[in-house]
Symmetry: C3
Subunit: 320 residues, 3 copies
């Protein structure tokens, strides 16, 4: 693997999942793989799970991990080509990235969308500029439109749970929109859709209120419905996530509390396991009764972030 910014960087999803689960069973199996290697984790936006799990994963491989909160410890970066930098940005990515590329063997970066200009966000300018100038392998810790380490974790968590369910058919996986109090990126939803479609071993349904369509480039292959109850019927895994509108970009049209998942709604499912990437707004996105029940996979899912990151970093170190 030369970089990890979307599912397209992965040759074989199942192989990568297998690798991750092997690390879960034996975290220090490749403890010398990253000896004398250094990984830089750059955050232009805050992070808890992503930062800590990647740091832990790097250490498990013997790498030195250095975290840099660009927004708080550094300064505003410029991404526009040809900019006359007389404003608030202090350093151009063209200057910062190659310097960082000299200090680190692998660079990881998190950068959120503006949610104002869809074309800019969906061009993934920030991470592409970074890759262009860094000169070393780059791993996305969530970009403007995708969150691949999360999605890999999600597939790992489903594959880990699947044998316990003894299904005689493909699992039915439902991605359902949930209410939230502010406009959020589409990243996690886009990325989950992209990965489940690429994986191809599920019946995949996406449900959301009208006007909350996601970009077809990621959802293509899934059944899409505005009827949440119908979507949940016989579902084995329900992935709950809020996102803001894609078409009329970055808005909240409807914040209907009825879309919050409850035990009652889950009754029509096949004892569905419930997933969420965290952080979750309890009793807004998801009810306490679900999160505190055995239906919830969210803690296990977050724990698996370490093994997802470790599998990706190892694949890069091994040029696999």
């Amino acid at each position: 693997m030369k970089q990890f910014i979307s599912v397209q960087d992965v040759t074989d999803i199942n192989q990568l999942v297998k690798k991750a689960l092997a690390y879960k069973a034996d975290p220090f199996a490749d403890r010398h793989l990253g000896a004398d290697k250094r990984i830089g984790l750059l955050f232009l936006n805050p992070s808890l799970r992503t930062r800590l799990s990647t740091q832990v994963a790097a250490r498990n491989l013997g790498m030195e991990a250095i975290v840099f909160n660009v927004d708080k410890e550094g300064w505003a970066l410029e991404f526009e080509e040809g900019a006359i930098m007389s404003g608030s940005t202090v350093e151009h990515i063209k200057d910062a990235a190659p310097v960082l590329g000299q200090y680190f063997d692998i660079l990881c970066i998190r950068t959120f969308p503006s949610l104002k200009n869809r074309e800019d966000d969906y061009s993934e300018m920030f991470i592409h500029q970074f890759i262009r100038y860094a000169g070393v392998p780059v791993v996305s810790l969530e970009s403007a439109t995708l969150h691949p380490l999360q999605s890999l974790t999600d597939i790992i968590t489903i594959q880990e749970d699947l044998p316990l369910r003894q299904l005689a058919r493909k699992p039915k996986i439902v991605l359902t929109w949930a209410p939230h109090v502010k406009p959020l990126p589409q990243c996690v939803a886009n990325s989950f859709a992209q990965w489940v479609n690429a994986w191809g071993e599920a019946d995949f349904v996406i449900t959301h209120p009208q006007d909350y369509e996601l970009s077809e480039q990621f959802t293509k292959g899934a059944v899409i419905t505005h009827n949440q109850d119908e979507a949940l019927r016989d579902a084995d895994y329900v992935y709950v996530k809020n996102w803001s509108t894609f078409n009329d970009y970055g808005k909240i049209y409807e914040n209907d509390p009825n879309w919050m998942l409850t035990e009652e709604k889950l009754a029509v499912s096949n004892q569905a396991k419930v997933m969420h990437c965290l952080p979750v707004r309890r009793n807004v996105e998801l009810s306490d009764e679900i999160l505190d029940s055995t239906h919830s996979l969210v803690t296990k899912q977050a724990g698996n972030r370490v093994w997802a990151a470790q599998a990706v970093l190892a694949s890069i170190l091994q040029h696999q």
Copy 2:
């Protein structure tokens, strides 16, 4: 030791002090004890000594220490059971703690009191919720009402100094209130009182202006007086600390500069050594003349923070 949030977690104070002083003499004696173990240091409030000394202590034991400033690098946590999270809190401790418990072998957390609601603060809800959901041993880096790593350090510093004084009696230890410019928690004072009382090898006097009573649950066993001069008579150790009111909670009633300790006041003491947990407001809480004199133990005291933390972490790793 299974957790360290108050003196009640300690079976034998003198044994723990001895262990700490052994590490001071030989910092790397147990350098492999924490191999492949990871400690997470979570700060909901700022810290200098506590953070750095705990980080150093962990490294001396061969542990990987990762610092996370929740307030600055992360987001606001919710602690209320059943909260409808439509406000400013982004993640519930019920979701965050078990995830962190999967990433780390020991979790350390600092969280300050509100100084607004005494019942909430004194219930220690934050740290108890954290312990309840973390699933791994928790060490307090200062909580709403106590600061046990500081108090252990204080006892270590006194025990280290005692032989030099050749007293034919128990040492007289005085905890004196000092002026400050803003309302501070009662933690350090509560905790020092709790530890000196539990230790039981001193004549212990607490002195403060009227209306600055501390909670009896911590002070019980000490002589309490509003007469600072009388308290200082024949004192061997004077611990200087400001705290806000406990009864009419979190206020500053009197900020009488006369309560600042001076060399003149110390004249009636037995060449008392002066202690403070730092940071200290010079010439407000304590005069330059004392801090810059040989009476001051504050630098040595702060240095001992490393050995206190190391003894505690080692005890947890050894399940002692």
Copy 3:
């Protein structure tokens, strides 16, 4: 070396450069030199290159590096002797420094000038107070008036490039003022002048608009001119940097865009290589056409920060 706060701490510049370039060729040659040693990096002001390169350098020598952003993670420090600390400062350097000196074997500190009181800034009170009370070797990560790790890097970069130029004479090095949008310290310019003069192996010219004189204590030995074109004639290395006024302290008098270096201006030079310490305001201080051309040494220069820091830290560890 016992400390590193200016060129005066260096016995033999060429020897130090040689050491740095040896580390560049073999980063882990002294990987055990700093075993069980700990370095503290304190930032009172933000940093990207300095922080990361010093952290990497320390690790290459086997040292544990701990970063502490005093301004963001800690609190405001007091530096005035005898201050009555009833204002915004929370801890005196007299108390903080000796504590840090107990936690670390080497302390590094970055602290910027106020640009308000020249006498205070040029007395270097902050770093001198820190050194006085720390009790361990101190390395400047940029102080009020100097940036020695940057200047060492600059000399390394020039020496590394020199053989490729096959000059039959001493290289001509030009330090030129550049426009900026806000008043900056004189540190990098002062320090570069001090080091090039101390090195003594160049024809050294400084050019800047009228009223932008630097302090003679650093520039003495250099030719100074207000005519940028004349200065650039036959130049081999052009160091571009903005600084605010020294005489009428900390001002921007003239922000003439004509002083921005362009390819056209460089035409009279000897195919000069262009240097800058970064971050650079593109198309304000320096044009894209230069920064993106082969004339630019800025990325290589920033990469060399690691080897400069490593040579300095190794010299301190070896008491050389």
